[in-house]
Amino acid sequence: MATTVDVNGRPLAVTAGPDTPLLWVLRDELGLTGTKYGCGVAQCGACTVLVDGQAMRSCQLPLSAVGAAKITTIEGLGGTHPLQEAWVKLDVPQCGYCQSGQILSAVALLTQNAKPDDAAISAAMDGNICRCGAYQRIRAAIKDAAATPVATPAKV
């Protein structure tokens, strides 16, 4: 039975069963592979997406629970989000596998708190594991992006 999900601003028809985690719907059915599988039990944050602007672990979100919520994946940020630009500027990624989730958690953080302090960054980012240990640069990139004036146009 086809269901419609709103992903990155587009309504998309999917046929996966209602208990299928959104992660696998995005990856296997919609081909949006920027969202990663890391643990399957909401421990690592690699599968983080935005659900109506909130950071959520898509590995633990069954398709049936998505409903009309607006999903944003890393592909939906367009590559020119201030956080993505800060990530590139500071060469944050190492293996890169966790970075989609890291960036989306950071997007949710800056949406709620435009100038987060270290404690706020820790609270928002502790659910996203980086085994390469890029934490120091992730923190620096969040601060760098937060310092970017909101009015700055995206790089063309």
Binding site: T20, K36, G40, I74, C95, D126
Partner: protein
């Protein structure tokens, strides 16, 4: 490599040839190893050699013989070529080499192609400089011909070829003509003093954009027409095999297309990842555990300790083996005043972010693998054994991998072989993607070995080591190599062996005992140094404390005696930058450690405080001597990341077994370092004209002892087992 570098794989020539002949007996006679291992390959390099492609649009493509899984080696490798080529760095891109031992093998790996031992940059240094310089000479000659001017009058800078007459050109328009010119046999390399790119902050990663927008392609992301996804039910104990299985429920899961028994378990093949998982979880498998390892890790550790203490006699065959001895060994047993210390290290999982996975196509045309291959030649050999083909004919497209830390360089190519077995059953060349869950990954073994050290040291009147007795009990990582278990497995002793502290001690009796278990073990970022650096550095601080001496001054004196100039230099640099002689910030205590691995020497000063009974690490000042620095920013990144990886293990890392079953399965039970626990690492690089040495691993083993030494300074108590925090 400069000093104590250890080859990642050290099977003998003979063992390797035997390995190659398993599938191609005719290869042996009169054939070099790289020739034998690449026989069957159809790959041919272009006009500018196997490491470089120049395009008419001016793009410079550097071909990397090494996988990129975080280390930043692609940036460094590209910079080496670009420097000698005088290319425009913004037009340089990196491409992953195909599997071909003849073109891309590494001498230190006996001609096999692979990535490990922190050797990518070092093993490519002269090779890639030469490749860049040769192509530069070809471009210059092409311009000289086309302009009718002497080649000697032409200069190249930042991707532009120029003549004083005003003629100039980018690389693009010259490529077609340059490709017809024979490469010079010994092109002149630059004087490093004239480098304009290498060693500057312009050498930055080429993959940050694709790794920040979701476009980077990992094995997990491979989608091919008709591709099936497989998951495997594995035995709960190492060494068990399938006795019987019931797949009735699995086959009823929508999307499941087949169930196959394979050597490592039962595979469910499905149309999607989720269907494969549902199917796999619905299998009922009965295991034959006749040959399974059923001991708990606590029993294994007790067995190791009893061997070290002599309570259990060593086996007559393959017993204790000395790796450093001088003076009267009886004296090294020490007297009543000796400091005797024992250390225990647990099994560790690598727990890379991307669980192990592979895509294989078998049964139509050459066997083809698409995945993050860390050791393509071994993966070819192991695949060819299953498909009965020439190893060189196995095609491998290497993708980015979501970390490895040693896990993907496996003598048995464990998960690759598993995927090939399934793809062979599926047949027809149909792509099969094997996906391991986090639990599959964590319970599959190939851990950092459990290790026990016993150290007994007596000191002279000044408080410096006079006699040093050292016993190490460990499993052998090299057991799985084609050469079998060496009596002196260097991967278990490196770092104790070669230590300046032993060099400066008059009487030494250091021995290793290899103890076997059924738990598969493997190298884990920085390998032997994961435990030897801790033992040597924490012991030294305990000795300094006993002698009433400052830990930095105590080390300096020993390094001077041992002639360890590079140790001295990084120690002094770290101490100076950390302000060692000044009081630490209020509430913080400093600890220092120094260790050499993979040709590089790293010193760290860590600032530590205890919060709720567990250490919190703040500022970490790092000094490294890694020879010529190619990319200072990526060296810093590796020091930051390596420190986190080492700290994660020292603080929390522990795989335990209960009755042979791995207790941990996911990040809720295998705790790893998180953002709020990460230190702030400052990196200082010693200026050096030596060839570049390792960077990916040397930053990992130093933080553990630096933190333990800070705890010692704070509490007066040594920390004799890891992890510091029991989960």
């Amino acid at each position: 490599m400069t000093t104590t570098s250890r080859t990642l794989a050290v099977p003998t020539r003979r063992a390797l040839l035997v390995g190659a002949t398993v599938v191609g007996g005719a290869l042996l006679v009169g054939c070099s190893i790289p020739d034998a291992l690449s026989a069957g390959s159809k790959f041919k390099p272009g006009a500018f050699g196997p490491f470089l492609k120049l395009a008419a649009d001016g793009t410079v493509t550097v071909v990397s013989k090494h996988i990129e899984f975080g280390q930043g080696n692609h940036a460094g490798l590209a910079a080496i070529v670009a420097e000698e080529l005088d290319a425009d760095w913004s037009k340089v891109v990196v491409e992953q080499a195909p599997a071909n031992a003849k073109l891309y093998g590494t001498p230190m790996m006996f001609g096999m192609q692979g990535t490990g031992g922190s050797s990518a940059i070092n093993s490519s240094w002269t090779l890639l400089r030469t490749a860049g310089a040769a192509a530069r000479a070809m471009l210059v000659e092409a311009a000289a011909k086309s302009w009718g001017v002497p080649a000697a009058e032409i200069t190249v800078a930042n991707g532009v070829v120029s003549h004083p007459s005003g003629k100039q050109s980018g690389f693009g328009p010259l490529v077609a003509e340059a490709a017809k010119i024979a490469p010079p046999e010994a092109p002149k390399l630059k004087d490093p003093k004239t480098f304009t790119l290498v060693g500057t902050d312009r050498v930055r990663r080429k993959d940050s954009a694709v790794k920040s927008n979701g476009a980077a392609r990992y094995t997990q992301d491979v989608a091919l027409p008709e591709m099936l996804t497989a998951m495997v039910a594995h035995a709960p104990r190492f060494g068990a095999t399938v006795k019987t299985f019931d797949d009735a429920a699995a086959r009823k899961v929508p999307g499941v297309v087949a169930v196959h028994k394979i050597p490592t378990g039962v595979a469910v093949v499905a149309q999607s990842t989720w269907a494969a998982k549902q199917g796999r979880d619905a299998l009922k498998v009965e295991w034959d555990e006749t040959k399974a390892e059923k001991r708990s890790s606590s029993q294994i550790l007790t067995a190791f300790k009893d061997l070290a203490s002599g309570k259990t006699p060593a086996p007559e065959k393959n017993g204790w083996a000395a790796f450093d001895s001088k003076g009267d060994a009886a004296k090294a047993a020490g007297d009543a005043g000796a400091l005797e210390i024992t250390y225990d290290f647990p099994y560790l999982a690598h727990a890379a972010m991307e669980p192990m996975n592979c895509v294989a196509m078998v049964g139509k045309g050459p066997t083809r693998l698409v995945f993050g291959s860390q050791f393509p030649t071994l993966d070819q050999i192991n695949t060819a054994k299953i498909t009965t083909a020439l190893p060189g004919s196995v095609e491998i497209e290497t993708l980015f991998a979501g970390g490895s830390f040693g896990r993907r360089a496996n003598f048995a190519s464990d998960y690759v072989s598993e995927c090939v077995h399934i793809a062979k059953k599926v047949g027809g060349g149909r792509p099969v993607k094997l996906v391991w869950t986090r639990e599959d990954d964590m319970r599959a073994g190939y851990f950092r070995p459990m290790v026990h050290h016993t150290v007994r040291v007596t000191t002279d009147a000044e408080g410096y080591p006079a006699t040093w007795r050292h016993r190490i009990v460990s499993q052998s990582i090299m057991k799985g190599s084609p050469a079998g278990t060496p009596k002196l497995d260097d991967s278990a002793i490196e770092g104790t062996k070669g230590s300046p502290y032993l060099k400066a001690t008059p009487v030494v009796d250091a021995q290793l005992l290899i103890a076997d278990t059924g738990v598969p073990v493997l190298w884990w970022r920085s390998v032997g140094a994961t435990h030897t650096a801790y033992v040597m550095e924490h012991t030294i601080d305990q000795l300094a404390r006993k002698a009433g001496k400052d830990p930095v001054a105590y080390r300096r004196a020993i390094y001077q005696k041992a002639g360890a100039a590079r140790h001295l230099q990084v120690l002094d640099l770290a101490a100076e930058k950390a302000g060692w002689t000044k009081p630490a910030p209020a509430g913080w205590t400093r600890g220092v450690a120094v260790h050499e691995s993979f040709g590089s020497v790293v010193a760290q000063v860590a600032e530590v405080q205890m919060v709720d009974g567990q250490p919190k690490v703040g500022r970490v000042v790092t000094a490294i001597d890694c020879g010529t620095a190619i990319s200072p920013d990526q060296i810093a990144a590796q020091m930051e990341g390596g420190t986190c990886y080492g700290l994660s293990a020292a603080m929390f890392g522990e795989i335990t077994l209960t009755d042979g079953k791995v207790d941990q399965g996911n990040f809720d039970t295998y705790r790893v370092l998180r953002s709020s626990e990460a230190p702030t690492v400052e990196t200082y690089i010693v200026a050096s004209a030596n060839p570049p040495s390792g960077v990916g691993e040397p930053g990992t083993p130093v933080i553990g002892p630096a933190v333990a030494n800070a705890i010692l300074a704070l509490t007066g108590k040594p920390t004799l087992s890891q992890p510091f925090v029991k989960t």
